[in-house]
Structures are given as structure tokens and as C-alpha cells.
Subunit: 199 residues, 2 copies
DNA sequence: GTGCTGAACTTGACAATGGAAAGTTGCCGG
DNA sequence: CCGGCAACTTTCCATTGTCAAGTTCAGCAC
């Protein structure tokens, strides 16, 4: 497992590439990702990356799959005790803490959903969200919890992307809301969804 | 202005490229956009495109600026008579009707916000949204309309991206909500934001 | 140990791409 | 008619993703 200066066999190429990939995506975006650049960064030949991930799409798909796994992990930490809003905040927090993963996970044109790992990972994460809204929406009280799911998921997803796009960082919006913590803002926004008479 | 088969001077290259660009982005995504491909599609040399838009980033920036203008147009059509939800639905409808524009408009890494046209166009569209939430949120009643803006904008933006990413098209979610019209679904979700006792 | 198999990696080649440079075409105002 | 200038072209180059054909090396049967 120790690979400080292994000359030929890198030892943990896959992990190193994925780690480096996260940095590059944050710096230059998914479009700025270069197999050759990643390879030299990690200290291997450019085709070595292809050996592990196949094509460029395969590389991004593996990265996105990892993202969905991280998301599931984050959602599981909160699901048992909390309410629906907590799940949404965890979703948003994941996006802000893993911007590279998040920005790739919902770009189907960059990914290959036939890749087994990706398909399964996304399915798992989505079903966690769905179950969360079922638990909250009080199955039986309402005819369907789908609008609740869509409202909450959509809101947190949208806030995440707008925040990552820098929309809240400048312009007249920024003036209207001083130095705002996005998480806190999202919590206030999310509370508008809760029945006002609750607790 | 007539340019059916002008041999040398194309006449409306700029417009033709932008139109073709929308199609290519829908088919292959922004990453699949090729200056050379666009050029041959439109019938010019690849550097002719560069002549009009500068770099590839310049091309996408011009396209995004056009998108923000189209969005402003769509928002203005509804602003005067309706309530806040109508504005949100118009936002969503724009995204679904112009998926190519929408998918590029919020990808800062692909754009150059120093481009004057883009900066101004986005500023205009954002201020329309902000004004819409002010009008609705009843300035004075609440201390700030910002959470309302963020809740509504975020929700519609998120639903748009999730829909365009195909999240609602497959998997267990799809089973939970048969053949659903996204606009209608968003309207039901958006209503969860309205104060239940309001007229 | 010896040899062998297969995974991890290499070098080398190729077509496609974005962009720069320098030249050509043709409209339009004087 | 002519000079200027925008629109466009051909040519060139560095960079990129992917393929094909080696090379290195770890582990395992014997």
C-alpha cells in the first residue's frame, strides 16, 4: 500500500487521478480536464489513465459515481433522526463541500450511464431522497409526497448550483443580502415550505 | 440582408452560427461543441467563426448572453399581472424551451463574464427576478424578501436542471409519478411555498 | 529458484481541435 | 475610380484523446 516513490507500478493510480481530478475541475471546470495533464500531474504516462478508466467519459463517470456515493453517505448520516429540511441541508452541504463532484454528477452528456457503478450509485442516492420525503410527507395524509420531494430537492439543488455559479457573490443580489452564509439562507428558504402551524 | 447562397460574404454568419450552436449543444452538450464543426455546418472556414466571436469562450459567452436576453423577455411577459409563482413557471418554461441556452448560462468556467454583453444581460435578468420577489413578498410586511427570492428561484432553477438532466425520466422516481408534466409538477411544488391562508 | 501469465504501465503514432498569422475578396463611401 | 476595411480564406502549429504494440514487474504454479 506504501507507494511513496514506486517507479513503475504507481500503486494507487486510480485514487491519485480521482483526487487530482477534483482539484482540476474546481480550478478549470470539467471542460478543462485533460487526460494528459492529469497523467503528468500524477507522474505517469497519459495512456496509463486510459488503462484504468477507459475513455475520458469513463473517467468522468467514475468520478460522478464516487460523487453519488459520497452523497449517499452524507444523506445517511442525517436520515434517521431529522426532518426533511435536514436532509435538504445535508444535500446542499454536500454540493458546497464537493463542488467538483456535484458539477459533474448532473451532466448526462459528459457521462456514460451504462457504466454499472454510476447507474447503481445514482439510484441509491436518489432512493434515499425519495424515502426521506416519504417519511416526512406523512404517507397517507397526502395523496402523494412527490410534490414535496420535488419542491425540496429542486430548491436545494437549485440553490446549490446558483451558489456554485457565483450568482450570490456579486451584483444587486449581493447588495440586497450582505455577507450571507448560503447554508443559513437555504435554511430560511426551506422553512417557507414547512406548514406554518407546525410545532 | 438576403443571403440564401452568397458565396463569399455569408451575410448573417453570426446568427447562423448561434442557431446551429443551439442544436449542437442539445445533441452533444456544450463539451461537444466544435468551432470547426459549426463552421462547416454553416458553410464557412473555421476561422470565420473566430473572426466574429473571438475565442471559443467568446462564442459561448455570446450564446449565454442571448440566453439571458431571452429569459428577460420571457419574464417581462408575465411580470405585470401575475403573482410570484407565475414568474417561476415562466423561468422554468424558458429553461425547458431553450435547454441549450439554459445549460450554458450558469457555467461560469465556460464563459467570460468580462464580456460586456453577457454581464449586462445577466444583470438585467437577475434584477427582474429580484423585483418580482419584492413585489410579491410585500415589502414592509417582512423584514426581507431575500429568502422568498432564493426559495422560489432556487426551486425552479433546480427543477429545471433536474428535468433537463433526465432525473425524472427513469428509475424509481419515474415509477412514483407516472407520466408527469414537469410544468404541472412544478406548479404543485411551488404552491407549497404560498402561505396557505392567503386568499 | 524458474518460468509464465496477466496486470500495470510505456513509447509512438494518428486524426481532430483551437487559435495565430498572413493573405484574399468585395462592399461602400469619398 | 480608388482606397480602406470588414468578412472571409488558406496555412500552420501546439495540444488533445484514443489506438496499437511493446515493456516492466508482481505473484503464483511447479
Amino acid at each position: 500500500m506504501n507507494e511513496s516513490t514506486t517507479p513503475y507500478h504507481h500503486g494507487s493510480l486510480r485514487r491519485s487521478v480521482l483526487d487530482r481530478l477534483a482539484v482540476v475541475i474546481v480550478e478549470r471546470g470539467a471542460a478543462g480536464v485533460t487526460i494528459r495533464g492529469l497523467a503528468t500531474d500524477v507522474g505517469v504516462s497519459h495512456t496509463a489513465v486510459g488503462h484504468h478508466f477507459g475513455t475520458r467519459t469513463g473517467l468522468l463517470s467514475a468520478f460522478a459515481a464516487e460523487g453519488f456515493d459520497l452523497l449517499s453517505e452524507a444523506l445517511l448520516k442525517v436520515r434517521d433522526e431529522g426532518e426533511f429540511l435536514d436532509l435538504g441541508i445535508a444535500y446542499l452541504r454536500f454540493a458546497l463541500e464537493h463542488p467538483a463532484h456535484f458539477s459533474v454528477m448532473f451532466e448526462p452528456k459528459l457521462l456514460d450511464y451504462d457504466a454499472h457503478a454510476l447507474r447503481e450509485a445514482s439510484r441509491r442516492a436518489f432512493s434515499l431522497l425519495q424515502r426521506g420525503s416519504d417519511d416526512f410527507g406523512g404517507a397517507g395524509e397526502r395523496e402523494s409526497t412527490v410534490p414535496i420531494l420535488v419542491a425540496g430537492w429542486g430548491m436545494m439543488h437549485g440553490i446549490a448550483q446558483l451558489a456554485l455559479a457565483g450568482v450570490f457573490d456579486e451584483g444587486t443580489l449581493r447588495e440586497a443580502m450582505g455577507e450571507v452564509d448560503v447554508i443559513d439562507l437555504a435554511r430560511r428558504a426551506g422553512r417557507l415550505l414547512e406548514p406554518p402551524a407546525a410545532d
